[in-house]
Amino acid sequence: MHFEFLDRLLRGEIATDELVRGQRPIRVHRLVGAIVALGALVGVCMALYGLRWGEHYGGFHVLAVMVKVPLLFLLTLVVTCPSLYVFSALARSGLRFTETVRLLLAATALALTILASLAPVIAFFTFGTRSHPFLQTLNAVFFCVAGTIALLFLRRTLAAAAPMEARPGKRSTDRIVVAWCGVYALVGAQMAWMMRPFIGTRHLPQELFREVESNVFAGLLQALKYLVDG
């Protein structure tokens, strides 16, 4: 599979027309392929902690996380895509539903490319520290960085895709992206919480999904508290 478009996506060389309604737009299956491949790579590096420090983790954990990371992004997209379409249509962005899907897939591929570039750092820290809260926080920060860059890309593309007569009112596009980002961030964070474990916890048994308890914000606060209190 050829992923040279990812390089152009990172450099900002892919024109809006090519992404949403050009003569030869990027194919959806190529975007999904990139998401699956990059997500699997990120998954391997995240799962290494369980293998290295866990008492009950094996190859199944790595395999499960390789599947779960791309699934996390794709399921978040399924939940939030209709709302982005409605909000962007309301701002007269000119994007059709299929174009909205393609744009979101491109933003997701971009986020995963950034995460994949940080995956060696995750792997390095996995072998360098036993602290589970530290690795949890590090992963959360990396996901936030990747997500923010992807959302900036989304904002730029949505603004560029707006018809000329709608551009003076760019503020509406901005407001829409901000509102939608809030929804996306909440759903994405909670989806990740539901699909735990990704990193793995040393003394806990290997499981595909943990029982749903509390929510992601309570979990992150707890990790930060452990990190600060030691």
């Binding site: 209709p82 379409y85 409605v86 909000f87 249509a89 929804v183 989806m191």
Partner: protein
Amino acid sequence: MTATVIRSGVLASALTVRQILTGDGPFAPGAQRVPWRRLFVLVVVVTAFHGAAIGSLGVRPLAILYGAIKLPILFAGATLLCLPNLYVILACLGLRKDFDASVQGILCAQGTAALALAAMAPVVLFAYACGASYPAALLVNASVFALAAWAAQVALSRHLGLLIERDPRHRRVVLAWFVLHGFVATKLSWILRPFVGDPALPIAFLRARQWAEDPFTNLFWAAAALLAGLFR
């Protein structure tokens, strides 16, 4: 043959949805012939869908059915109760000729709000699937309704902006509409409770004694109880 009919029906619905959201075609501000029936059917279907999603906390089929019935009643009821007053205000200000255009704007805004709600139904269902508690479910639904109200406001200002440009007195009409509609919708939603439905309580289409209750005092205590529930 059937597939072709279904396909053309889906395409027509998708086009209608897009035209309502962007304010184009027959739903453009100042359009001469608005397809009222299509708009009404769409609002009823879409709000019923979202009502079913709201009522699905605890996955109780009867609560889902009640939600699907009550949300369209809330949408249509609040608007119908306020329309006569809109006519009177426009007539008093000498703007009676703009009644059709005002109603068009209001109904397109309702359609936009309904579509925004339906688009966020997956978010509500996801929150429920995450095991959201009753107070958390109330908070999620309140946030979703706030976003839908904002979407409606965008559509309304698109339509009524033209009228205000033509005659600034329309500003007063819009303000009166917001106050009255907000007042009526709050009371009606209080009467039609429960929408979400606490899974710990038995299912009821309406709660007892709510006709006599004052929603504005109760809403204060409901908000306080919601916050207390979240931080418990």
